[in-house]
Amino acid sequence: MSHPTDFLLDYALAELEPEKSLELEAHLRQCESCRSELKALQASFVALSESLPLATAPAASWAIIQERIKPQTPSSGITEEKIILTPIKNRRSWQAFALAASFILALAGFFWAFQTQQNYKQVRAEQRKVAGWLSRPDVASVQFLDDKGDRLGSVLTLSDGRALFVLRDPPEKGLAYQAWGMVNGQRTSLGLSNRTLLEVSYTGYDFIGTSLEPEGGSPAPTHPLGRVAIPLEPRPAPENKPDTPTSSKDQTFLEG
């Protein structure tokens, strides 16, 4: 086995082109000697970096970083004021009612804003994940179709054995997408998701697919959606179509 030691330093310093990095990573997975050398190079770099006199980071930096990564979310509405005009004799009880109502509204607004923020973060994380996959030179993709030919989403694979189901819609409340791997008539559950992304490992399977199941999953698929053959074989995409439909749902779905 030849060892691409010339590239290890560039890889350790993130100066290797993406294609070469992937080639090197494939080699690293099989080569203990190169993995060990890479680890040594990185350890020296870390030791050198940590041998410097330690300066204290400026206090304002973290706030600036937070500001720069902050998502743009809609206003929470918490500060919105309500003006209530009431007869004087009932003012005290109305004031108490208004106060309670304002408090409840503020709390609801805060809860809504918190949930929106959390949801937004999750969506952003998912977008980043898909963008990360799509930017890889070894990504392959196919459309993921149901038995009527309607698009459920896409399936992406990387050369390192990972696959990502990108579903168009999240499952309804109380349900989850469940992924399955199939080989030689055997079927294995690969994972569950109650969102639109489902990452699995496709290594060792002839087909991977998904079904819609109750939250918590099922021992066997009850509402199969579709499956794709592994490895993905994307044909040249027609114009205006980013990838090629090859998935299918058939009577023997998930039966290997």
Binding site: A47, L48, L54, A57, K121, Q122
Partner: protein, 178 residues
């Protein structure tokens, strides 16, 4: 407690508290590295911010199979510092020119662990040839690219890379011994 690698993996799914923890753990080291390369507090502060914003945006690229979290973060800082040097098109002053008495330049040289670590690395560096010491200094503390070093020395680029690589491996061996 999560390891630094686990924190980056959690960051990959958008967990911002992991970024805060990584910042708490490594912001001083990142700032120190940037300050060493750039010799300017304002530039180093911007690199510190850029490094953690980039870490947040590119956490997906971290592969724990082939590297430590620290190496990944310091590499971002080094590359951001070098980009800033290129953008300014001028080399910074020597480190000796920084006013160490400036209260804003708080060097915490009395921290025992860091002090010990510095002495260990300094001792190991003494065992390298002067050429190796120069190459490591220029490459990691002065922000020179391997191509710039090849031009400076008149040696082929491949030779420079091999020398830097061997110097790092030798340093690693020495650090294991000291």
């Amino acid at each position: 407690m999560d390891t630094e690698e686990q924190l980056i993996i959690r960051l990959q799914s958008g967990d911002e508290t992991s970024l805060a923890k990584l910042y708490d753990l490594l912001s001083n080291q990142v700032f120190s590295l940037a300050l060493q390369i750039l010799r300017n507090r304002e530039d180093a502060q911007e690199v510190l911010q850029d490094t953690f914003v980039k870490l947040y945006q590119n956490a997906e690229r971290f592969n724990p199979e082939f590297g430590s979290a620290r190496a990944y973060i310091y590499t971002i800082a080094r590359n951001e510092s070098r980009m800033r040097l290129r953008a300014k098109q001028s080399r910074p002053q020597k480190l000796a020119d920084i006013d160490l008495h400036d209260p804003a330049s708080t060097f915490e040289a009395n921290q025992v662990t860091d002090h010990d670590s510095r002495i260990t690395v300094a001792k190991a560096l003494e065992h390298l040839t002067r050429e190796d010491q120069h190459l490591l200094q220029a490459s990691f503390f002065e922000g020179y690219s391997h191509a710039e070093l090849a031009e400076q020395t008149g040696l082929p680029l491949g030779t420079i890379k091999s020398k830097v690589r061997r110097a790092l491996l030798k340093l690693r061996d020495l650090l294991g011994d000291v």
